[in-house]
């Protein structure tokens, strides 16, 4: 694949759309779970708030400023995990991680996250794509602290 195609794969329209108009942006006053994500390499910060109903993510909001990849990832993740259980969300993260690190080729499994397959051609950007997911995992595990891509 030539460079321009690789770039177009990375910056797909759906990713740019979520970057420009992030879904579920904001916070939840009465959140049950919170976590902060931090990528010290670029200074990106992400605040995640969850409203749980039992084991189900009833609502999810995020705030923060980041690059196109990290913002779009947070936005699409928030759409994807809403209404899912803790275990389902973690399973989605596993699939997502395999996708962006090139360990799976996407396919039917990738589902709505298939747009992120292009990240695998840019290894230094994997942390941008996974920051929101790591933060979600911390929030679900009730850690209520700042997690870092460098820990």
């Amino acid at each position: 694949m030539d460079e321009l195609n690789q770039l177009n794969e990375l910056y797909q329209e759906v990713i740019l759309d979520h970057y420009r108009r992030p879904r579920n942006f904001g916070t939840i006053e009465e959140a049950d779970r919170r976590a902060m994500g931090h990528n010290p390499l670029c200074g990106d910060r992400l605040a995640l708030a969850l409203k749980m109903k039992g084991d189900v993510i009833e609502d999810i909001r995020f705030q923060g400023a980041g690059c196109a990849i990290s913002t779009a990832s947070a936005s699409m993740m928030s759409d994807g995990v809403k209404g899912k259980t803790h275990a389902e969300a973690e399973a989605m993260f596993e699939k997502f991680h395999a996708l962006v690190t090139g360990k799976s080729n996407g396919g039917a499994d990738a589902g709505k996250f298939a747009a992120f397959a292009g990240v695998s051609a840019f290894p230094v950007r994997v942390k941008c794509a996974t920051l929101a997911w790591h933060t979600l995992k911390a929030a679900l595990e009730g850690m209520n602290k700042t997690i870092s891509t460098e820990d």
């Binding site: 770039l7 177009n8 670029c42 200074g43 400023a65 980041g66 690059c67 990849i69 913002t71 840019f122």
Partner: protein, 416 residues
């Protein structure tokens, strides 16, 4: 590819580029455009050869062997020290301490000078444009001694607010530590003025020269600074070697930094006698080939002339400032009247990391992020910037390539 310079002299950039083997390699199937010189510079053949020659002809430990190779290596190491002395126009080679880099040089002063002279309630004065390496060592000292770290602010152009600096220089100030050139903004600080003001109040000054030595002639006696720190790898020498210049009288009064071999005269379990300056600061087997290669880099630069390099880089900076200012949505961060080597910028609606990724696909290497100067980023209300920084081998055509690639960024992000 000759560039007209001030005063009618010319720098043969094509010849200079052929001295740097890495500049000939393609990156992502396009010619490399290396604009990350403030992070580290590429190395000329003369430097690479000096390392090879050291290992092929004289590798041995220094200052202790009675054998022939040790004598050769010791001489080469001490010759390098004298090259650094002349490069900085220091009075005495004993004022040149080899360190791992500027960071270690600053830590050395914070430890060996700071701990003896800074007490509870005392103040250390820095500026708002410092690199983390000229902040964190002083925080260590502050926390250990119960001292205060004072920060002189910078204005919207990225210049030191001199009146504030003067106001913060109090009877409690025990040391001023300031960058000569800001790595994130390119601002050149008025060091002579700062030193004169501090000395009038009896306060010594450390200058972090990491970003200055590649771009301007540094004369420590003219500046009259008390300490001056820099890193070899920013001036075309390898990583892992750097320099602390200190006035001899100050260094002589300072205790050693680290303990070990090389820095001792005699050791018993009861008592150790240390060597004199500068050896008491150089514990352990030093980076011998690094020092020798730094000497080779200095000779290489002297052969071209630092003034010629400065003029060429000034032309590049002026041209790049002009061209980048015309890019829609681009804001240059750091517009000091006196700048050297660096342009930080942000592009509206595009995160610097995305800029960096797209430029990289065009073979253009720039730095994106906080540039180890997070307080500077906070001052300008950004999390990160993109930064192009120039070296003696960069060309106007490379500036054009940067501008063209920024057009591609807008193309990728412009689609709706």
């Amino acid at each position: 590819m000759k560039t007209a310079l001030h005063g009618g002299t010319e720098l043969d950039v094509r010849a200079i580029r052929s001295d740097f083997p890495i500049l000939a390699r393609p990156v992502r199937r396009t010619p490399l455009v290396y604009l990350d010189n403030a992070a580290t510079t590429q190395k000329p053949k003369a430097v690479l050869e000096s390392i090879r020659a050291y290992y092929e002809e004289m590798n041995s430990n220094i200052h202790r062997g009675v054998h022939y190779l040790s004598e050769l290596a010791t001489k080469a190491y001490e010759d390098a020290r004298d090259k650094v002395r002349r490069f900085l126009n220091a009075a005495d080679a004993r004022e040149i301490v080899f360190t791992r880099g500027a960071t270690e040089a600053i830590n050395l002063v914070a430890y060996a000078y700071g701990r003896a002279h800074v007490g509870p309630g005392d103040e250390i004065l820095i500026t708002g444009m410092e690199h983390h390496s000229n902040i964190v060592p002083w925080q260590f000292l502050r926390d250990e001694k119960g001292a205060k770290l004072q920060v002189a602010p910078i204005d919207d152009r990225g210049e030191l607010v001199f009146e504030e600096f003067e106001r913060l220089l109090t009877p409690r100030t025990k040391l001023v530590a300031v960058a000569h050139v800001s790595n994130a903004l390119g601002t050149v600080n008025p060091i002579k003025r700062i030193v004169a003001l501090a000395h009038a109040r009896g306060v010594p000054v450390l200058v972090d020269g990491a970003q200055a030595v590649p771009h301007l002639t540094v004369d420590v006696r003219d500046l009259d600074c008390d300490f001056y720190a820099f890193s070899g790898h920013k001036i075309y020498a390898p990583t892992g070697i750097g320099v602390l210049y200190g006035k001899l009288a100050l260094l002589d009064r300072m205790p050693p930094y680290q303990g070990g071999g090389e820095m001792i005269l005699s050791v018993t379990f009861e008592k150790t006698e240390y060597k004199k300056t500068p050896y008491k600061f150089e514990a352990g087997t030093p980076n011998i080939e690094g020092a020798i290669a730094l000497g080779a880099a200095i000779e290489y630069l002297n052969g071209i002339g630092i003034d010629h390099i400065a003029a060429h880089e000034h032309d590049l900076l002026r041209y790049a400032t002009e061209r980048l200012s015309a890019v829609p949505g681009l804001r240059i961060i750091g517009t000091a009247r006196e700048k050297a080597g660096v342009i930080s910028f942000e592009l509206a609606g595009v995160h610097p990391h995305d800029v960096g990724t797209i430029l990289d696909q065009e073979g253009i290497a720039i730095r994106t992020g906080h540039h180890c100067a997070q307080p500077v980023m906070d001052r300008f209300g950004v999390a990160a910037t993109a930064r192009a920084s120039f070296g003696l081998y960069n060309t106007m055509e490379e500036v054009d390539a940067l501008v063209a690639a920024l057009g591609k960024v807008s193309q990728v992000f412009g689609k709706s």
